[in-house]
C-alpha cells in the first residue's frame, strides 16, 4: 500500500513539476531562449506572495491575482529589454545573461531574506485537510487542487496555442520570425507575450510550491530549474503533453526513491532523467504538437 501511496503522491506532485516546466519549454520553443533564471523567478513570485500577504493582509488566494499578472508584466518587460538584447547578439549571450540573472537573483534573495526556508501559510481548511482512500492511503486536498490547476493550465495553454488566433501568431513567429515579420507580425511583441505567459505560469507554480512545500533562495536552482528541465527532457522537447507526462514520471520516480530511502528522493528522479537521456534522447513523447 505504501507503494501505491507513493505513486499517487508522485503523480500529484508531477503536475506541479509540469507547471514549472511548461514556461521553460514555451520560451525555448518560441524564442530559443533557455531561461536559466526560470526557477529563481518562481522563488521571487513566492516571496512576493509572502510579502503581500504579510503587508496588506489579504486572503491567500488573492496573492495569485496580484502576483501572477505582476510577474507576467515583468516577463514582458524583461523580454523586450534584456532578453531581446541578448537574443540580438547570440544564443550564447542569452545563456550568459540568464545565468547572470539567476546568480544575481539568488544571492540577492539570500542577502535580503537570509537562507531561511519560508512556507506560504494558507490557513484554509481546503489546504490543510485530506481525505482517505481505502484504509491506508491519505491524500491531501492541496496536492489534488494543484494537480488539477496544473492540468487545467496546460490544457488552456495547449488550446490557446493550437486554436486561438494569437496562438497561431506565436507558432508562426516560432517557426520563422522573419517571415512572420514580413506578414505584418511584430515578432518582438509576440516574444514579449510568450515570455509573459511563461513568467505567469512559473509565478503560479512558484506560489503553489510555497504552499505545498517550502521556498528558500536556493530552491530556484537546485530544485525548481533542475526538476522542470528533467520533466521537459523526460517528456520530450516541444510537447506540452510530453511535459505533463515527464513531470509525472519524475514525481513518481522521486516518491518511489523516497520509499527506498528518504535521502534517495532527488537522486532517483535524476537517474530516471539520465536513463531517458541515454535510452530515448528524444523523450517519451517525441516532438509532435506545439511550441
Amino acid at each position: 500500500m505504501a507503494w501505491v501511496n507513493a505513486i499517487i503522491q508522485g503523480v500529484l506532485v508531477g503536475g506541479l513539476y509540469a507547471l514549472f516546466a511548461c514556461g521553460l519549454s514555451l520560451m525555448f520553443g518560441v524564442m530559443k531562449v533557455v531561461n536559466l533564471a526560470h526557477g529563481d523567478l518562481a522563488v521571487v513570485a513566492g516571496y512576493l506572495a509572502i510579502g503581500i500577504i504579510a503587508v496588506i493582509n489579504i486572503p491567500v488566494l488573492w496573492s495569485f491575482v496580484i502576483v501572477v499578472p505582476l510577474m507576467a508584466l515583468l516577463g514582458y518587460v524583461l523580454q523586450r529589454t534584456i532578453l531581446q538584447g541578448a537574443l540580438d547578439r547570440s544564443v550564447l549571450t542569452t545563456l550568459m545573461v540568464t545565468f547572470g540573472l539567476s546568480v544575481v537573483i539568488e544571492n540577492g534573495l539570500l542577502q535580503f531574506f537570509t537562507a531561511n526556508s519560508r512556507a506560504i501559510g494558507t490557513g484554509l481548511a481546503l489546504v490543510t485537510g485530506s481525505f482517505t482512500l481505502g484504509s491506508q492511503i491519505q491524500i491531501g486536498y492541496l496536492p489534488v487542487v494543484i494537480f488539477v490547476v496544473a492540468v487545467v493550465v496546460l490544457l488552456g495553454l495547449q488550446y490557446f496555442l493550437s486554436r486561438s488566433k494569437y496562438g497561431r501568431l506565436i507558432r508562426a513567429v516560432a517557426d520563422d520570425k522573419e517571415a512572420a515579420q514580413l506578414a505584418g507580425a511584430d515578432y518582438r511583441h509576440v516574444f514579449g507575450i510568450a515570455a509573459a505567459i511563461a513568467f505567469g505560469t512559473v509565478a503560479l507554480a512558484g506560489i503553489a510550491y510555497g504552499m505545498y512545500s517550502q521556498l528558500s533562495p536556493t530552491t530556484g536552482t537546485d530544485t525548481i530549474l533542475l526538476f522542470a528541465f528533467a520533466a521537459v527532457v523526460i517528456g520530450g522537447l516541444g510537447s506540452l503533453w510530453g511535459t505533463l507526462l515527464g513531470g509525472v514520471v519524475l514525481g513518481v520516480a522521486q516518491q518511489i526513491g523516497a520509499q527506498i530511502s528518504i535521502s534517495d528522493e532527488v537522486l532517483a528522479g535524476f537517474i530516471v532523467f539520465l536513463a531517458v537521456l541515454v535510452l530515448r534522447p528524444q523523450g517519451l513523447i517525441s516532438r509532435g504538437a506545439q511550441s
Binding site: 525555448f28 533557455v34 549571450t93 545573461v97 547572470g100 546568480v103 530549474l225 521537459v232 527532457v233 522537447l237
Partner: protein, 352 residues
C-alpha cells in the same frame, strides 16, 4: 601551419603571414620572468598574500577552462563544478589511502579527464541551452551519489588527512607552488592547443559550422577534446582547492558558485581570448577582497557587471584594451603583413 609555410614560401607576392605583429619572443621572456618572480613569492611576502594568490590561481585556472569551453567551442556549461568537486574528492581519496595530497594532483587531473568522457557522452545529446542545464543536473547527480559513501565523509565531508606534523609555513609554500604550477600548465596547454589544429577547427566552427563540417573538420571530436581538457583543468583547480582548504565538503566543492565565478571572470575579462580570463580574474579578486565583509554582494555585483558586459561590451575588458593598442600576449591567430615601401595593415587579425 600549412597556411604559414605556403604563403611565406612566396615572398615575391609581397606579403607575409606571421603570428604576431611584433616579435613574440619578448612576450615569452616576460611570461617566464613573471612566473619566476611569482615562484619566489613564498620567500618575500606574507602567507596571507600567498593564500589570496592561491585563490586567484584557482579562479584563473577555472576561468581559462570555461573560456576554452564557451569562448572557443561554444559550449556553455553551468555544471563545471562537477569537476571541481571530483578533483577535490580524488585528492581526499588518495590522501585517505596514505599518499601525500600533493602526489594526488596528477591523479585528480587524469581522473577528471577520464570522468569527462562518460559525462560528455551523456550531455552531448543536447544542444546549447539544454546542454547547459544538463551539465548542471549531472553535477547535482554526481554530488548526490558521492554523498552516499560514508567512508569519504558522506553528506558532511571530512578534513583532508596527510598533513599531520607538517610545518605550516612549508605547507603554505607548497600549496602556493602547486597552485602556480597548475595555472601555468593550464594556460600553456590551452595556448598550445589553440595554436594547433584544434584551434583552427574551433575557429572554423565558430565562423561557420556547416562549412567546417563539409570541409572535413571533425567537430564532435574537437568539442569532446575541449570538454575533456576543461574537465581535467577544473579537476586540477578542485584538487588545489581541497589542499588549500584542508577539508572537502560536498556542498561546497560541488557548488554552482564555482561556475558563476569562472563564467563572470571570463565574461568580464573578455570571452574568446586567452588574456581575457587573466584580466577578469584580477577584477574578480579585487572585488572579492574589497567586498569580503559583505557576504554575497561581490557575486551580485559581478553578476550585474557580467550581464552588462555580455550585452554591451561583448569582447570584455581585454577587448577594450585590444582595440586601443592591438597586441596579443598569446597569439593564436595569424597576421597578414604586406611588405611594401610603406607597410600598411591589410587585415585585422583574426580574433582568438
Amino acid at each position: 601551419m600549412s597556411l604559414a609555410t605556403k604563403t611565406t614560401a612566396r615572398p615575391a607576392e609581397g606579403f607575409r603571414v606571421t603570428r604576431g605583429r611584433r616579435n613574440v619572443a619578448w612576450t615569452g621572456l616576460v611570461a617566464l620572468i613573471v612566473v619566476v618572480v611569482l615562484a619566489l613569492f613564498p620567500y618575500i611576502v606574507y602567507s596571507g598574500t600567498t593564500a589570496i594568490l592561491v585563490q586567484a590561481f584557482i579562479v584563473l585556472t577555472l576561468a581559462s577552462m570555461w573560456n576554452l569551453l564557451a569562448g572557443y567551442a561554444g559550449l556553455v556549461s553551468v555544471g563545471q563544478q562537477v569537476f571541481v568537486g571530483l578533483g577535490a574528492y580524488f585528492v581526499l581519496i588518495v590522501a585517505i589511502n596514505g599518499t601525500s595530497p600533493f602526489a594526488a594532483l596528477p591523479v585528480a587531473v587524469i581522473g577528471c579527464g577520464v570522468a569527462a568522457l562518460p559525462l560528455w557522452w551523456l550531455v552531448s545529446r543536447l544542444r546549447s541551452g539544454y546542454f547547459a542545464i544538463a551539465t548542471w543536473v549531472l553535477a547535482a547527480t554526481v554530488m548526490l551519489i558521492i554523498e552516499k559513501f560514508s567512508s569519504i565523509g558522506g553528506g558532511t565531508g571530512m578534513p583532508l588527512p596527510g598533513f599531520a606534523g607538517m610545518d605550516p609555513a612549508l605547507l603554505t609554500a607548497y600549496t602556493y607552488w602547486a597552485g602556480l604550477a597548475v595555472t601555468v600548465v593550464a594556460l600553456a596547454t590551452i595556448y598550445l592547443l589553440l595554436r594547433g589544429r584544434l584551434g583552427l577547427v574551433l575557429t572554423a566552427v565558430r565562423d561557420d559550422e556547416v562549412a567546417a563540417r563539409s570541409s572535413g573538420a571533425r567537430v564532435g571530436l574537437a568539442r569532446m577534446l575541449v570538454f575533456v581538457v576543461a574537465g581535467a583543468g577544473c579537476g586540477a583547480a578542485g584538487a588545489v582547492l581541497a589542499i588549500s582548504q584542508l577539508q572537502v565538503q560536498p556542498a561546497a566543492v560541488f557548488s554552482v558558485q564555482w561556475t558563476a565565478e569562472m563564467a563572470f571572470a571570463t565574461i568580464i575579462g573578455g570571452l574568446g581570448t586567452i588574456e581575457g580570463p587573466i584580466i577578469g580574474t584580477a577584477v574578480f579578486m579585487v572585488l572579492q577582497q574589497t567586498l569580503a565583509s559583505y557576504n554575497a554582494w561581490y557575486l551580485i555585483i559581478l553578476g550585474l557587471v557580467a550581464i552588462f558586459v555580455a550585452l554591451f561590451a561583448r569582447r570584455g575588458l581585454w577587448g577594450l584594451v585590444d582595440e586601443r593598442i592591438n597586441v596579443r600576449l598569446f597569439p593564436v591567430g595569424y597576421w597578414l603583413r604586406v611588405d611594401e615601401a610603406r607597410p600598411r595593415r591589410l587585415a585585422r587579425p583574426r580574433r582568438g
